[in-house]
């Protein structure tokens, strides 16, 4: 007998057969581990000969993280404040480089290749090694006599802060590779006709940036914000990440590590929720266009 299905059912079957692989993977590598890690976070796990022995301790780990642990909260705080300054700077810089690279000029491909180079070199372990050597700062700002030269014009306290910020910019620039590419891809999708129309109506470059470019790449700004946030939470130099690893592998404190992981995750989720809320208005106005 021929297997009969109507079009709609067949469409659904085919769709599911394409994503089935992912659903299976999701269960095995995401849903079940997540569930188990919630369970562990309420337990005390102690290694013994018969494997791990679990003992229910309620919310003890969560309370300990906020009251007893003297290292976790400061680490958490510094991670989040770093992120708050880092993300806007990365976005602004990525946007600037994307605008620079979007023009037609000789050697465009070469420069694009160079701008993306830090993603290859200055990431992960290599970045960690470079940081250990203090090579993540250019010797321009704090070396040399820039401080003494500028002190004549800018008050000393302010100047030190400014130069330290400028010094941190190297990291911002190295981190902006992927974001630059996303913006670049976004800029390519904007029709030149829009700019021409704006020019005919007498808009300056500045105006057409804010009235055309900016709203058109709003979705990419959202994508980039999320990407930068997620990558800054999982960076090689992130203190929280190291701290949780130590709890697992140096102390075998599985239950507590799971609890810390969950606190971290919930906070990240709240931050991302806020970002979505901020972007919602501009995105919904885009769709109504």
């Amino acid at each position: 007998m021929k297997f009969k299905m109507n079009m709609r059912k067949r469409h659904i079957m085919e769709g599911y057969s394409f994503i089935m692989l992912w659903i299976v993977g999701f269960m095995a590598f995401m849903a079940i581990p997540l569930g188990r890690s919630i369970y562990y976070s309420f337990q005390n796990l102690s290694p013994s000969k018969a494997g791990l022995v679990a003992e229910y301790v309620g919310t003890q780990h969560f309370r300990a993280a906020f009251t007893v642990d003297v290292q976790f909260l400061p680490l958490l705080q510094s991670t989040f404040t770093n992120m708050l300054t880092h993300v806007p700077l990365v976005l602004i810089f990525a946007m600037t480089s994307a605008l620079l690279l979007n023009r037609h000029f000789r050697g465009r491909m070469l420069f694009r290749g160079i701008f993306f180079l830090p993603v290859i070199i200055a990431s992960g372990t290599t970045l960690k090694k470079l940081m250990e050597q203090g090579a993540t700062n250019l010797p321009i700002f704090l070396d040399y006599d820039l401080y003494n030269m500028l002190r004549l014009f800018i008050p000393g306290d302010l100047l030190i802060n400014l130069l330290t910020y400028a010094d941190a910019l190297t990291m911002v620039m190295w981190d902006a590779g992927v974001q630059t590419l996303i913006f670049l891809a976004g800029l390519q999708t904007i029709s030149p006709a829009l700019y021409e129309a704006a020019k005919c109506d007498g808009a300056t470059k500045w105006e057409s940036f804010w009235k055309i470019t900016f709203p058109m790449i709003m979705p990419m700004i959202l994508v980039n914000t999320l990407f930068t946030m997620v990558s800054s939470f999982t960076r090689a130099d992130n203190g929280v990440m190291d701290y949780i690893n130590q709890r697992v592998f140096a102390e075998n404190n599985y239950g507590y590590a799971s609890a810390l992981g969950w606190i971290y995750f919930v906070l990240i989720f709240i931050m991302i929720g806020i970002v979505f809320l901020l972007f919602r208005r501009s995105l919904s106005s885009m769709e109504g266009r």
């Binding site: 659904i12 769709g15 994503i19 000029f105 290749g113 993306f116 994508v223 999320l226 090689a236 971290y264």
Partner: protein
Amino acid sequence: MANPQQFINNLKVSDKINPAVKFYTIKKSKSFVGNLFYYFVLLSLSFVFLYPLLYMVSKSLMQTWDVADATVRWVPHQLNFHNYGVAFTEMKYWQGLTNSTIISLGSALLQIVSCSLIGYGFARYRFPLYGLWFVLLIFTFLVPPQTIVVPLYMFFSDLGWINTHLPFIVPAAFGHGLQGALFILIFIQFYRRLPAVLEEAARIDGAGAFRTYWQIMFPLGRPAMITVFLFSIVWHWNDNFQPSLYLRLPPFYNLAQRMNGFYGKASMTADQMSTSVSSGAIGMAPTVMNQMMAGVVLSVIPILILYLFVQRYFVESIERAGIAGE
């Protein structure tokens, strides 16, 4: 107007003092200064991006006397590859390279196949619970690996997969693994943009859903594939977090781990690092920085070479693939 100069030469004399032409030439010279400034900005930014590479290479070629010499800033007095020799043997380079290659290449190829398939499913089909699965896909992208590190480690150790390459390769085959969700999103975005006419034609000619995908759509996905391939290989190559969880014995270490544990010969080697629980307790020997940098160069050089080859296609493919959401 191919050649502006030729255009001006071809004009009659009376035209040459024509204000419009004058305006044209003035504008030209103005844009020359603009261009100069533009290239200046690009070049100075390029320096910042090339800096880590220059730093690594220059330091790795220096010897102890060069470091002590204040006149040496970038270029050492003589070319000496001694550091590379030390780093090469101390890191057991070939062993590390093999491990890194299996993990990165294996995961990257599997992620291309699986993420493309899944991305196509999400891009072209609408089914019940579509919204739920899509939200869960975004969710997987956002969950930090630390949150599930404990159960995942136990899961793999129950299966006996510790010190094998399977914890990297198997999740990749299911469209998970390192940044799997992001790669699926890239493919979704790419397939959504392709016109549906192509598939309709294939379906009318009698091809089934999978055949249509495999023979028509998958080969068309090449721009997105290059992007995913490069990202996947680079991130797996540089990642130290997951390997440090699943590869616990020195012979199985990948290059990133070896590099991480390598501080020069005077100090401890990667093998000794793992046996001593805390290196701080015994007191670390001073780092031999130049040898360490040679180790860093050695471990990034394979992907750097890969990048040199695919860079061109990669940057082009970004334009066509559109790695961003819309």
